[in-house]
């Protein structure tokens, strides 16, 4: 049975539908990310789970108990959850130890018990020697750790994080996301993590929920999401890709300027139907005409443009005269001159068939 479950949850602010009938089940101990562009409804979803916002449609249940319906909503203070906010929301009028101990004191624990648990948690988040400092005297990363410690020390039913790393610089962000994953592995709290940074979601999550305009586009583990995106939006949002739009006719896929056999593709497109494919630049290979061909799909192309990035080459290749160019990433040793004729090899097993028609 799932720990946290959302059933057809919507939230409208006046005329704008911020969240549009999303359903989601999260297992006990699972780490799930909500990923999507700005304004797609991630924060709204998270705040509905926390109980700050009431859904305008649907229900939210934790451990089988319904907490939110459009008619009534258990207030956040009675949900036993924890949340980490984008601004950290560390209370500047309390010391580190008071911040971390607050939730325990509210729960009525005795002073010595609070102290023991705070000490243990400060050790876990590596803040042991800063316990009497005020937040104004802490660095951004240390404040973030206080927020983590404060949220986890109460042993929450569900841990919610809203873009917790977006105020940190790049290096610290990478360090802290490792920290968050480490702490999750240690405590295994059921976690919902909101971010618009795909690398962050991939690095931390068991599963990722990709959202767009208030709807769920796809829910999958990071590997599947990258290699088997289901919609054009997901393919474009997670990493870079090439789109090929065409039609399936007589066992072949017809694109502007060239055709490819449909047979090796799974799932095999229907006859007569429009087709949309996603080809990652990393999975395309360029080779000189003399080299032996290995992949089932081969195209004769011409280099239009190239950029040398040290670790790799970025090529822009025209797969057929007049056809839309494809982006290809090649190792630094694969040198091709602009204007040269090259063979593009494609492994159909690495090609994702997208739901045509969806944008």
């Amino acid at each position: 049975m799932s720990k946290l479950s959302l059933r057809e949850v919507s939230c409208a602010f006046g005329d704008t539908l911020a969240v549009d009938r999303i359903s989601l089940d999260i297992a006990e101990g699972e780490f799930v990310s909500l990923l999507g562009p700005s304004g797609c409804g991630k924060t709204t979803t998270l705040r509905m789970i926390a109980g700050f916002i009431r859904p305008t449609h649907g229900t939210i249940a934790v451990g089988g108990r319904v907490l939110s319906t459009p008619e009534s909503s258990l207030p956040p203070e009675r949900r036993g959850m924890s949340m980490i906010f984008q601004s950290y929301a560390i209370w500047p009028n309390m010391t580190v130890a008071e911040n971390v101990g607050f939730g325990l004191a509210i729960r009525g624990l005795g002073a010595s018990e609070v102290r023991a648990q705070v000490d243990r948690m400060l050790g876990v988040v590596r803040l042991g020697d800063l316990r009497e400092r005020y937040p104004a005297e802490l660095s951004g990363g240390q404040q973030q750790r206080v927020a983590l410690g404060r949220a986890m020390v109460v042993n929450p039913e569900v841990l919610l994080l809203d873009e917790p790393l977006s105020n940190l610089d790049a290096n610290l962000r990478e360090e802290m996301r490792g920290e968050i994953r480490r702490l999750h592995e240690e405590f295994r709290y059921t976690t919902v993590y909101v971010t618009h940074d795909q690398a962050e979601a991939m690095a931390t999550s068991d599963r990722i929920v990709v959202m767009n305009r208030g709807r769920i586009e796809q829910v999958a583990d990071p590997f599947t999401l990258y290699n088997r995106p289901r919609t054009r939006f997901v393919a474009g949002f997670i990493g870079r890709t090439n789109f090929l739009a065409g039609r399936c006719n007589g066992g072949a896929l017809h694109f502007a300027g060239f055709s490819l056999p449909a047979a090796p593709l799974t799932p095999r497109p229907e006859e007569g139907a429009p087709v949309l494919l996603s080809l990652r630049p990393q999975y395309l290979r360029l080779s000189g005409e003399a080299a032996p061909a290995t992949a089932p799909w081969r195209l004769q192309g011409r280099i239009l443009h190239r950029t040398y990035l040290g670790e790799q080459w970025d090529y822009l290749v025209e797969p057929a005269p007049g056809a839309a160019p494809l982006r290809v990433v090649a190792p630094p040793t694969a040198v091709h001159e602009v204007g040269a004729s090259v063979r593009i090899e494609i492994d159909p097993a690495q090609v994702a068939v997208l739901e045509a028609g969806a944008d």
Binding site: M81, S82, S87, V154
Partner: protein
């Protein structure tokens, strides 16, 4: 959907579930709404009702309007108020704009002292200024005239404060700081780059100032001028002290005369309407004027700002500044202090003339003066607590949108801003003086009226403070298991402490010196200092008057100085937005 239906069935299964999720904030909303209706809506409603009702039968009648506007004297007073307002506004602009420009944009020396003296003018109760100016420019014994006669041997007086223009100048000397505040606020965000742009195109220093800078801040100047206009027409003390001996009345003094026996509240209510309507209208215009941000061209960061080098002109500006400040602060304070410590103020500055007897008389002999000092400060403190409590509650609910229609509450909390004090007093009189409450003359009605009058200050400051507070701080308390009240107690209150101390002082200071509201509502035991001063002025003992005034002034200065230290340099000269 079936699942949702089942769930809903389970929830609806009992009133218990409903109660469990019941939100008690709605009760608080209702309580606050009720208080605001009592304080703001009811007095206004009763004011209008009183003006239209026959006091005996309760029937609709226009008799009170016919009486109020049917006499030449009453109409003349209306006209006098209009001219008074316009003249004060014009003179205030002339006094204030050069000083504002000099302080904000130039290298004029002595800016710090200028600001302090301006603050002095701003916190001086206008009626104290009027008393000082009677000592300075009374036709016979006034200091200026004495010096004039001594120097020239002339018989005639140089200046006479007991004239219309005397009244205008005295009011303008204590209203011009409003124009200063508005203008500097706007000038402070005009960046030097904007002026440089004109310089590069070949405009000289003066051309730039008059063609670029001043037009940019014109809406602010007009906004300030409107405030002084409204101040002038709503002012009671100065027109009473200067106008009544000079035998002319303005609207406010005429309203006061309706309250001398026999009391004609109905006529007063009818006669107060133009004052109310003009105020509402002008504030509306002013808001629209200042809202056109594009015109004020706020560059946000303010850009780089370099003071303009004045060269020889600095002496002209310095002269203007110090002349104005001498007339508003230095001379008046000097003569007030002299009279307070003098046996007879007309005998001048000499050791033989020095005495503490005036203070002794007020504090130990006079039957109610000492009491009035105590009253002023206790009522002021009670007012400040009440106004801040209410203003903060409304601000918190409105900013956090805790309930639907929170905007109604904030609108009501801001509404007294456009009600002149004297009109509010008549409204309170009409609403709460008669039975069943019969609050006339009690400290309750004074504190309630003061709190209502200064509620907008409390609300605007509280709202600004709450807005600056990240709501996630409170969300963090709640998700960890604390209620909203816990969040308010443990996080909101400690974080707002400092801004609330500032707001408290901003209410306390005007509440301790409020005259027009107090005059209509206080009784024999609830007289406050301002009313006491007014009563003493009728006895003509200027030494006692000055001693009491000086006490008020000294305490005010001390409190403002404390505020200066605790809250920061500009806490009173900031533009008090109507936010």
């Amino acid at each position: 959907m079936t699942l949702g239906g089942a769930v809903r069935g389970r929830l609806a299964g009992g009133i218990v579930a409903r109660l469990r999720h019941f939100d008690p904030t709605i009760l608080i909303w209702l309580a606050i709404a009720a208080v605001l209706i009592l304080l703001v809506v009811n007095p206004l409603f009763r004011l209008i009702l009183t003006s239209l009702q026959d006091p005996v039968t309760g029937a609709l009648t226009f008799d009170h309007y016919i009486y109020a506007y049917g006499r030449q004297r009453h109409l003349t007073a209306l006209l006098y108020s209009l001219w008074l307002g316009l003249a004060v506004a014009a003179i205030s602009v002339v006094l204030a704009v050069p000083i504002a420009w000099a302080v904000s944009r130039t290298d004029m020396p002595g800016k710090g002292a200028t600001r302090i003296l301006l603050l002095g003018a701003f916190i001086t109760p206008p009626y104290l200024g009027a008393i000082s100016w009677i000592l300075l420019a009374g036709p016979n014994a006034g200091w200026l005239n004495q010096v004039w006669r001594f120097l020239t041997g002339a018989e005639a007086a140089l200046v006479n404060v007991y004239t219309f223009w005397g009244l205008v100048i005295v009011i303008a000397l204590y209203s011009f700081p409003y124009v200063f505040i508005f203008t500097t606020a706007a000038l402070d965000v005009v960046s030097s780059e904007m002026e440089d742009a004109a310089n590069i195109l070949g405009a000289g220093k003066w051309q730039t100032t008059f063609r670029i800078t001043l037009p940019l801040v014109l809406p602010a100047i007009l906004g300030g001028a409107m405030v002084t206009f409204l101040e002038a027409i709503a002012l009671f003390g100065t027109p009473a002290l200067i106008g009544l001996p000079a035998r002319f009345t303005v609207v406010t003094t005429q309203l006061y005369q309706f309250f001398s026996h026999p009391v004609r509240v109905e006529a007063a209510a009818a006669y107060a309407m133009p004052l109310l309507l003009v105020t509402v209208l002008l504030f509306w215009v002013q808001q629209r004027l200042l809202r056109r941000k594009g015109f004020v061209a706020l560059t946000g960061k303010g850009g780089e700002r370099r003071p303009i080098r004045l060269g020889r002109w600095r002496w002209a500006l310095l002269g203007h500044t110090w002349l104005v400040l001498s007339l508003a602060v230095i001379l008046p304070y000097a003569v007030l202090a002299q009279a307070a410590f003098a046996k007879a103020w007309g005998q001048g500055f000499s050791f033989g003339n020095l005495t503490l007897a005036n203070f002794g008389y007020l504090l130990f002999e006079h039957q109610s003066a000492a009491r009035s000092v105590l009253n002023s400060f206790t009522y002021g403190a009670a007012t400040a607590f009440l106004a801040i409590g209410l203003g903060l509650a409304v601000a918190y609910i409105a900013v956090r949108r805790l309930v639907p229609f929170a905007r109604v509450l904030s609108f009501l909390a801001m509404a007294p801003f456009v009600i002149p004090g004297i009109v509010l007093a008549i409204g309170f009189y009409a609403a709460y003086a008669p039975p069943p409450l019969s609050l006339y003359g009690t400290s309750t009605i004074l504190i309630l009226a003061f709190a209502t009058r200064f509620l907008p200050i409390a609300y605007a400051n509280s709202a600004a403070a709450v807005r600056a507070l990240n709501p996630e701080m409170e969300d963090a308390v709640r998700i960890l298991g604390g209620t909203r009240m816990t969040a308010i107690r443990r996080v909101v209150a400690p974080l707002l402490k400092q801004s609330l101390v500032g707001a408290w002082l901003l209410v306390f200071i005007p509440a301790t010196r409020e005259l027009s509201t107090a005059l209509f509502l206080s009784g024999p035991n609830t007289r406050v200092m301002s009313v006491m001063l007014f009563d003493l002025s009728e006895e003509g003992k200027f030494e006692h008057l000055s001693a009491l005034g000086l006490m008020l002034l000294v305490v005010t200065v001390v409190i403002v100085a404390v505020g200066y230290r605790v809250i920061g340099r500009d806490f009173m000269l900031r533009q008090q937005g109507s936010g």
